[in-house]
Symmetry: C2
Subunit: 262 residues, 2 copies
């Protein structure tokens, strides 16, 4: 279990470079650096904080809205969705987390978490007390830097989400979602040519602000355009032959009078 996540180097070893994709090769290099950074940060945390480790399974809550804040979490493997609930009862997936991402920042402001954090898959969470982190930061300033960088990244990522939802048509939003998922996998050194979505169409739609039918149609259109294709069995497995092509598609869907997809 989880060995694919615990050994990113092994994962990339088993992945031959796609045919004639120089850009992909460049990606692999930078991905390697990115995953190295994640690994280093995880190592730093492990050594300085001796975090509790906890194995979670799909559907488990890492923390829940209303719970008293006291701990932060880091995802060592697996996939997590952040689910927000508004005062008036609307529910939405407001974030997705991958290996190396921190969880629980939403709780720091008010003394209690404001979202649910739900595992989408089997995975391992590292847990530590916020006050212990602060103490450790006094000894190891790079810890504080890592914390702030993680929070800053989350802010930036949230803004990107908002921009996608506000400025992209449905098809492009789905393409951008897939691109982001693939990019996130690449950052943790996982393969990106064949990815498994851990969400139903309904969840994806909820995250992207559209209905499940629209998600399904968008995926069908992307497949018809050969930007993605489904594995033989099951529609949760998606192949992305060229991640860059998705970004290019997002571009074209912005161009005035773009035919986009049929």
């Amino acid at each position: 279990m989880l060995d694919y996540a615990l050994s990113p180097a092994a994962a990339s070893r088993t992945r031959p470079f796609p045919i004639g994709a120089w850009a992909q090769h460049a990606d692999a290099v930078s991905n390697h650096c990115a995953s190295r950074e994640i690994v280093d940060t995880l190592a730093l945390l492990r050594d300085t904080l001796a975090p509790q480790r906890r194995v979670v399974h799909a559907g488990d809550a890492i923390y829940q809205a209303g719970e008293r804040f006291g701990r932060l979490f880091i995802l060592n493997s697996g996939f997590v969705k952040i689910v927000g609930t508004s005062a008036d009862g609307r529910e939405q997936v407001v974030g997705l987390k991958f290996r190396g991402d921190w969880l629980g920042f939403d709780g720091m402001a008010n003394g209690e978490y404001s979202c649910d954090s739900i595992a989408m898959d089997t995975g391992e969470i590292w847990t530590f007390r916020y006050d212990a982190l602060l103490v450790a930061c006094a000894r190891r300033p790079e810890l504080l830097t890592a914390l702030h960088a993680a929070m800053s990244r989350e802010i930036g990522r949230d803004r990107d989400s908002l921009m996608s939802v506000c400025t992209l048509p449905a098809d492009a939003r789905v393409a951008e979602f897939l691109r982001h998922w693939a990019e996130s996998l690449a950052r943790c050194g996982l393969r990106t040519d064949q990815i498994t979505l851990r969400m139903t169409r309904a969840e994806i739609g909820n995250y992207l602000g559209m209905t499940l039918e629209t998600v399904s149609r968008a995926l069908s259109r992307l497949a018809r355009a050969k930007l993605i294709h489904f594995a033989e069995k099951g529609r949760r497995e998606i192949c992305i032959p060229e991640v860059d092509a998705l970004a290019a598609f997002v571009q074209t869907s912005l161009a005035p009078a773009s035919p986009a997809l049929q």
Copy 2:
């Protein structure tokens, strides 16, 4: 100049309680606490960091995307919009900032800011170096707490924005926008019964993910429903007789088969 912001107590002194609004009174009390918290944090920063002060005017950039990160900012008065630009050239207002809000967190992760921060009005910005802040945090741990609380609040706020955009119809989104603006003013001890939007319909629409015409129509409908009304002259001045009524309206627009507004 700015005296209305520099003396929130004076502002609330000149504001009589609305007719028979017990809830508003409760608001005023909690607002007073909130604005007190802002004032205290500002005082703490002033005393420990001796920040540079800078007066900005509408349209001035506090910082810009691509600029090297090194400083953080706090808004002492005025109003600021955060404008994001995606790699493919989409532009969007992704955040609004009020008195006491921190600016520049987006720059911490990558060594450069990723958004533009633009003043929407005359205001005063306090500026200090990030590394100086870290040094000061070692002496005064409450500074670090304040920093983290501010970052956490920003994360929470961004998620709320995303939820509005994804789960609310246009009219409710505009209502929620007004409600949030009023709430933000209340938090800094400013009057909320009569507010001046510092944004054009186009900017509001850009922020909320709709066209300027839709914003205009939504405002007209809200006015027709007496949830807001415009000052005699000028359509940037908006009166909100009862802020809570806006929240209630958002609710009703979620109810199945809601007639909403005509």
